[in-house]
């Protein structure tokens, strides 16, 4: 009998489910006839995401203690499982949003790539060695590069894809180089092993750590590594932007947390300050730049940069509470971001051109449901009470205060004040008509497109999660705490 290695299928199941769905979607792209292709792809990928989420939930339930698998390549623990659930749900919502995007070409490829990217992310959050980390990073990034450029008829999309590819490769290159340096100085690839093996003062090691951090910060869209974000978010197809803003950030942040805490705990003094500085930079740049934006997608891109800042504060706390608050905050953040982009997508489809603040005017009255949704999402991103975003911010600030860094609380609070300016701008555009519609603004003739039920469902889901995470905060926090417990904090 050949000794087959023990494969923990359950641990791999979320990823595999998604890979399977991607494969089927890709096959379908070739085989299924055009008219039915969209429905087929959506169905397959939606099912794939649901199955993945279910598996991840089971995984969460059944992984009380972290286990290393794949010879240190992957961890089976509640942190990864929770992140996988979140990613899968984001993916599901994005699929719902994508249904109505009027795509004619590359329909099947779109959904396949989306699912593949998600698969990569799911694997990414469970990665526990430098190798698997880099592999899965490239895995999902490359899918994203293509996805960004998939609106081939639009120049901006191609530009976005290209930019993302080039600068992304640069970022990945830096990450890889950092991994190489770390491996070189410790001789280990696995995170926990790195911790054991380290010589804290080794210059190679420290430089490697810096580069790894930079590479990850790139993915997180943290300043000053964020410069790709506005262009790419603006140019990519809106559903892809939604996916990037939500899922990429979740994945990148979770992994950043994992690697810093697992592999580099000894250097915590160094990297926590660095992370804090990155956070402050992101907050400042993200919020300030967003105020002047007129294009909504670009504004939301900067908003996501500023949120990277908030979330990095949680990581800088380097504590159990910090990790818990990060995981909790990701939930309303993801819901609000994806939801906001969904509303933007809807308006974009209606108008047939990019959405600016001016073109949002009156949306609140014309489409009350979407208006309310956008309103709720903006309030959540701004950290207003009655939304989960408020409690998330509160939790993060509490964690960092407990860690003793009260000045970060002050900066965070000031940044929140600043962010209000542009979030309220959007709410204002929705509801308060400023006067005459400027000449040259063309309103869609021939009536509005029919109601997109799936998109409405997506927005509804977003609203439910955003507000629900406010009222039912403790259960979610319990989940987050369990997940955080899998880290050696």
């Amino acid at each position: 009998m050949i000794q087959t290695p023990h494969v923990d299928w359950l641990a791999l199941s979320p990823t595999l489910a998604l890979l399977g769905a991607a494969a089927i979607a890709l096959l379908g792209a070739v085989t299924v006839p055009r008219p039915a292709l969209r429905a087929f792809s959506v169905a397959v990928t939606a099912v794939g995401f649901v199955v993945s989420a279910v598996f991840a939930a089971i995984l969460f339930d059944r992984s009380p203690d972290p286990t290393i698998l794949l010879s240190e390549g992957m961890t089976r623990d509640q942190l990864g499982a929770l992140a996988a659930i979140i990613l899968a749900l984001i993916g599901l919502v994005v699929v719902l949003v994508s249904w109505g995007d009027g795509r004619k070409d590359h329909v099947g490829e779109y959904y396949a790539l989306l699912t593949a990217s998600a698969a990569g992310m799911v694997f990414f959050v469970s990665a526990s060695s430098l190798m698997t980390m880099f592999l899965s990073l490239e895995w999902f990034s490359i899918s994203l590069y293509v996805l960004c450029a998939l609106d081939t008829h639009r120049r901006e999309s191609l530009e976005a894809g290209l930019k993302y590819l080039i600068i992304g490769s640069f970022g990945s290159g830096v990450l890889l180089f950092g991994c190489a340096l770390v491996y070189g100085s410790t001789g280990e690839l696995g995170f926990s092993a790195i911790k054991e093996a380290t010589g804290a003062d080794d210059p190679l090691f420290v430089t490697g750590m810096a580069m790894i951090l930079a590479g990850l910060a790139f993915k997180v869209s943290a300043a000053p590594f964020h410069m790709w974000t506005p262009d790419v978010y603006q140019g990519a197809p809106t559903s892809v932007t939604a996916f990037m803003a939500g899922a990429t950030k979740v994945a990148a942040l979770v992994l950043t947390l994992r690697i810093l805490v697992t592999a580099f705990p000894e250097q915590a003094e160094i990297w926590s300050i660095a992370v804090a500085v990155l956070a402050v930079a992101s907050l400042a740049i993200g919020n300030l730049a967003a105020i002047a934006q007129r294009d909504v997608k670009r504004m939301l891109a900067y908003s996501s940069v500023s949120h990277a800042g908030f979330l990095l504060i949680a990581i800088a706390a380097n504590s159990d509470d910090g990790a818990t608050s990060l995981l909790y905050y990701l939930i309303p953040y993801a819901a609000a971001t994806v939801g906001a982009f969904a509303v933007v997508a809807s308006r974009e489809r209606e108008l047939g051109r990019p959405v600016s603040l001016a073109s949002l005017e009156g949306l609140g009255w014309e489409r009350p449901f979407l208006g309310v949704g956008m309103w709720v999402f903006m309030l959540s991103l701004a950290g207003f009470p009655l939304t989960g975003g408020f409690l998330g911010k509160l939790f993060v600030f509490s964690a960092i205060y407990e860690a003793g860094w009260w000045w970060l609380v002050v900066i965070g609070v000031l940044a929140t004040a600043l962010s209000l300016a542009y979030y309220l701008n959007i709410v204002r555009a929705l509801y308060m008509r400023q006067g005459e519609v400027s000449p040259g603004t063309v309103v869609a003739a021939g009536g509005s497109p029919p109601r997109d039920l799936l998109l409405d469902a997506a927005v509804a889901a977003g609203i439910v999660v955003t507000i629900g995470s406010f009222f039912f905060v403790q259960p979610l926090v319990d989940l987050a705490r369990d997940a955080a417990a899998s880290l050696p904090l």
């Binding site: 009470p385 609070v413 209000l420």
Partner: protein, 481 residues
């Protein structure tokens, strides 16, 4: 239970109003019904309220965010109950006014007003610091939209100014709340001990000084009160500003005795300055709303004097005057709205001589004006006298300023009354008759309550704090468990 009901009823009514596709009249009727039901709830609760007890009444508590020690904890002491009463009465009057005048997009409008009322009740009923903050902020959402959509020509600037000023203060308060709560390990007001951290104290102070407003944080006042619809302005000046009173009396005074002592002089000076500044400015405002707005600011300065005197007289007076001022200024804003609607303008240069042939209007304006200037015998006088007696014991200068303000109040109030009723100008923009039953029905209940309080101010002052000993009650809170 009752407290939760008091918070939830307006919120539920708001939800109903938003969802049900009723006609404009039915929506208004439903909203009014909700508001009156709320008043009825409060009145019923008042009968069973044990004012002499040292315990909170009608309290409820539920775990919410136990990781941080935040719970849904509500309960009412006497002074809170009066503030809640003020809220529901002014809210009902406001909705009645809106119904009388008619507002477009009624479902959104009434829903937002009801939501505002609900959040305000929540503010006054909170016994958890973070819950207080939640309601404090939640108030802003409806105000932002109400002023920004239904307001006057400069509404967008008005609402932005209001929100940004308030958020600036509130976010500082958030930082303070986090620091305070985390360092104490809980956010429940009853369990929190004291702190001598001046910075945390300042965070709260600034937030409440912006809300009141006091000099120099008052930049939002003029525009907001002028551009909002009359009933929203009534709620803003009558009730929302009292959130600052509540916060100071219930959060700041008990938990920061040291910093209060240290910075008391500064606070009193600012309050006195506000009192004078507001009164002087009120004297030369060109429109009714401007006068009431600055008068409001002056009265809040007076109330702050009472609060920071931190003695029995001052605190009792502050609570009483909060209720008084809430009712008077709400009533006055509604009357201003009525005048603007009937006569086409609120500018004093275009009004005048309205007393002729309009006994009801003249009486109402005169009565409200007399209350505004705190004519002896009125409840406003009782509040003012108590406050000034109290603050005298902290420094005679403040009381002297207060006394001067009495004269200033007489000046601007009489000027307002005469400008509306007496001095005949060239051009009234529109001719209109006297007040009719509907309008009187809005204002007279407020006046009636004021009259009752004038005859019996002890109704409020002796039933605000357990055993009618404000200072020992507040000092007792300092101990914590």
């Amino acid at each position: 239970m009752l407290t939760t009901l008091l918070i939830v009823v307006p919120l539920a009514a708001a939800l109903l109003v938003w969802i049900l596709p009723l006609s404009a009249e039915s929506t208004a009727g439903l909203a009014l019904l909700g508001a009156l039901a709320e008043v009825g709830l409060w009145a019923g609760g008042a009968r069973n309220f044990d004012f002499s007890s040292q315990e909170q009444q009608y309290s409820a508590s539920r775990e919410w965010f136990s990781d941080l020690g935040i719970s849904y904890s509500v309960g009412l002491y006497g002074f809170q109950y009066w503030l809640v009463g003020l809220t529901v009465v002014v809210g009902a009057a406001a909705i009645g006014y809106a119904m009388w005048v008619g507002r477009d997009r009624p479902r959104a409008y009434y829903g937002l007003v009801l939501f505002l009322v609900g959040s305000l009740v929540g503010v006054f009923a909170s016994q958890d610091l973070l819950l207080f903050y939640v309601f404090f902020e939640a108030m802003l959402i409806p105000i932002y939209v109400l002023v920004g959509v239904w307001g006057g020509p400069r509404r967008v600037k008005a609402t932005l100014t209001f929100v940004l000023y308030t958020m600036f203060g509130s976010l500082l308060m958030l930082a303070s709340i986090i620091a305070f709560g985390i360092s104490q390990g809980t956010f429940e007001l009853a369990d929190l001990g004291t702190s001598s951290n001046d910075w945390i104290f300042l965070g709260f102070l600034v937030a409440f000084f912006v809300k009141a407003p006091l000099l120099p944080f008052h930049g939002w006042l003029r525009l907001s009160y002028t551009e909002a619809t009359p009933e929203v302005a009534a709620i803003l000046s009558g009730v929302v500003s009292k959130a600052a009173v509540f916060g100071l009396v219930w959060i700041v005074l008990p938990h920061f005795p040291g910093p209060v002592d240290d910075l008391r002089g500064l606070a009193l000076v600012l309050a006195a300055a506000t009192l004078v500044y507001g009164s002087v400015l009120a004297f030369r405002q060109p429109d009714i709303r401007g006068v009431i707005a600055y008068s409001s600011m002056a009265q809040m300065g007076l109330i702050m004097l009472g609060i920071f005197s931190v003695n029995d007289l001052g605190l009792d007076g502050a609570i009483l005057h909060s209720v008084n001022h809430g009712l008077v200024s709400a009533g006055f804003f509604l009357v201003a709205g009525i005048i603007e609607t009937r006569f086409g303008s609120g500018e004093l240069a275009r009004l005048g001589g309205l007393a002729k042939g309009r006994p009801a209007l003249a009486s109402v304006v005169l009565i409200l004006g007399m209350f505004t200037l705190a004519v002896p015998g009125s409840t406003n006088f009782a509040g003012e006298f108590a406050i000034l007696s109290g603050v005298f014991q902290r420094g005679w200068g403040y009381a002297a300023v207060g006394a001067a303000a009495i004269v200033l109040a007489a000046m601007y109030a009489l000027r307002l009354i005469s400008a509306i009723l007496h001095d005949r100008r060239a051009s009234a923009t529109r001719e209109s008759g006297d007040l009719v039953g509907g309008e009187l029905a809005l204002v007279l209940p407020l006046v009636a309550i004021l009259a009752v309080l004038s005859a019996w101010p002890a109704l409020v002052t002796e039933r605000s704090f357990p055993l009618d000993q404000p200072t020992s009650f507040i000092a007792g809170q300092e101990q914590g468990p």
